[in-house]
């Protein structure tokens, strides 16, 4: 149990430290000439960084054969959503002045807003069902539901790419990392399908129950 502690500390730090800096700079008036834009970009950047870190935990477990990455995944996922909610709130309050009509107009007309909002909507049920109780209640459907993180991540990275005016380097870095993480999964799914095909039926059942038990493993 003790060797989980550094992992938990690191996962919390990834959320707490950037948040603490944002609060510190806000109170010190260090956010520059356009503080709202700074905070929008800052919270957006950290949402994507935390999201990609969350998605990196499964490959990390497979590579290191440690279970700790999976056991801090929920902490990372919830911090991702916390930053996403901050990002969305700043836009709602300072860009839209809390106007529902303007939000509607933006959702219809601005593709990058549509993408970002859809990602927020997709991650909402994931945040709600992140508790142990929901995990037990949904059983295997929990795993299926939480695969929504993949489309949400694609939408999130595309949202960033779409709003940049000319210099697309940074959004392309996020997209490249995301594609690498997705490619890892496609590859490992391919390997496990091939293994299944090569196994006699009696063993296949055994493998399926095994994979079901590992994927619903609680942190």
């Amino acid at each position: 149990m003790n060797h989980l502690l550094p992992w938990r500390v690191a996962a919390w730090a990834l959320g707490v430290v950037p948040l603490a800096f944002a609060v510190k700079w806000t109170f010190q008036s260090l956010l520059g000439p356009n503080p709202v834009e700074f905070l929008e970009h800052y919270t957006g950047d950290w949402t994507l960084r935390l999201l990609l870190t969350t998605l990196a935990m499964t490959p990390l477990r497979k590579v290191t054969r440690l279970s700790e990455p999976i056991r801090v995944r929920r902490i990372l996922g919830l911090w991702t959503y916390a930053f996403l909610c901050l990002h969305f709130s700043i836009y709602l309050v300072f860009d839209l002045g809390l106007s529902v009509a303007q939000l509607g107009a933006d959702l219809v007309k601005r593709t990058y807003i549509t993408l970002g909002f859809s990602a927020w909507l997709m991650l909402l049920p994931l945040a709600i069902t992140s508790t142990n109780a929901w995990q037990r209640r949904l059983k295997r459907r929990w795993v299926t539901l939480h695969q929504l993180i993949y489309p949400a991540a694609i939408l999130g990275c595309t949202h960033y790419y779409w709003l940049v005016k000319a210099d697309t380097r940074e959004p392309l870095i996020y997209l490249a990392i995301l594609l690498a993480l997705l490619a890892f999964r496609v590859q490992s799914v391919g390997i496990s399908l091939r293994r299944r095909r090569e196994q006699p039926p009696a063993v296949r059942v055994q493998i399926e129950t095994m994979s079901a038990s590992t994927s619903s493993e609680r942190p």
Binding site: P18, F21, W25
Partner: protein, 320 residues
């Protein structure tokens, strides 16, 4: 020779520590300490916070002051000079203030050519007489939805252009920014089609509001704001006000403009501030004034209705 500052002086003005930085050096050290600490935390760098006013820049005399921003508060010097779009020095807002020190603004000359009877290659002081500068306080609205109010120093564009005797073929005026990769390392990446180029229709260029700026806040323009010579066209989006001009060409045909070349659907040749015509990816109905948190309404022609007659026969959603 009021704006001549670099000759015969062994220390370049850019090398002089600004007074405010000198007096605030303890705080500066603290900032360096904080910056060093945040480097280890990767991705947590605070935004730039520089000097309050750059006293290293030579001050300029003005003969006349005109307030043309409806009495609105002038944006802080610190904000105007540390929040810039000048892609030759980097694509973030902080990069130009950091990198533009490499730009050598003296000596500086401008080529004026094309459809005119008296083309020339003139020194800046010959082009803009430093004895007759005026100050104009204008609104400035960026296509990205931020805005400011700035006190520019310079001269109206029209009389400068007339000196070169444009012919009846001169229907447009093209402007070009310096393109020198040694002074502008970021141009190596080819984000835009260098040199940066802009253009106006001749009647727009001759409008009394069109202005050539050489100063800001009573002093020589800081490099990041387009030193030593920039256009200031207050009724158009900021990218039309081209910086660090080295060439002016009278043309018969509408000249190519950098942002239009990059995104013809998003950035038109005219690019008049117009709250009714959206950028394809965002609304232009509102803007955020630097120094304010909540967005305010954008004004037609950025609050300069006197230019409307230039476009009376045009559909402004087609010619955006």
């Amino acid at each position: 020779m009021l704006i001549k500052i670099a000759h015969s002086h062994p220390i370049r003005p850019s090398e002089i520590t600004p007074e405010s930085v000198y007096h605030g050096r303890r705080r500066f050290l603290l900032q360096i300490g904080a910056a060093a600490a945040s480097v280890t935390l990767g991705g947590c760098e605070p935004p730039e916070s520089g000097a309050v006013a750059n006293t290293a820049l030579a001050s300029l005399k003005v003969t006349k002051k005109t307030e043309l921003a409806g009495g609105e508060n002038v944006t802080a010097y610190e904000d105007i000079t540390h929040y810039n779009n000048f892609y030759e020095f980097g694509t973030t807002k902080e990069a130009p203030a950091r990198n533009a020190g490499r730009l050598r603004t003296r000596p500086w000359s401008v080529v004026v050519d094309g459809e005119c009877e008296a083309p020339g290659h003139v020194d800046l002081d010959e082009l803009i007489n430093p004895q007759v500068l005026e100050e104009r306080i204008y609104r400035h609205r960026c296509v990205e939805r931020w805005s400011m109010v700035a006190p520019w120093l310079g001269v109206p564009l029209a009389p400068v252009l007339r000196r070169f005797k444009p012919t009846s073929n001169a229907k447009y005026v093209a402007f070009y920014t310096l393109f020198d990769p040694r002074q502008m390392p970021e141009t190596g990446r080819g984000v835009l089609n260098w040199p940066y180029r802009e253009g106006l229709r001749i009647d727009e260029a001759m409008h009394p509001l069109a202005f050539l700026s050489v100063g800001l806040y009573g002093r020589v323009l800081p490099n990041q704001n387009g030193a030593p010579l920039r256009l200031t066209v207050p009724w158009k989006y900021g990218f039309k006000s081209i910086k660090s001009i080295v060439q002016i060409t009278f043309t018969q045909w509408q000249p190519e403009t950098s942002w239009n070349q990059l995104g013809p659907q998003e950035y038109g040749f005219y690019s008049n501030v117009n709250p009714a015509v959206d950028h394809p990816r965002w609304s232009q109905a509102r803007e955020r004034r630097l120094g304010e948190l909540v967005m305010r309404k954008t004004l037609m022609f950025n609050g300069y209705p006197e230019v409307a007659s230039l476009y009376s026969a045009m559909d402004l959603s087609t010619f955006f």
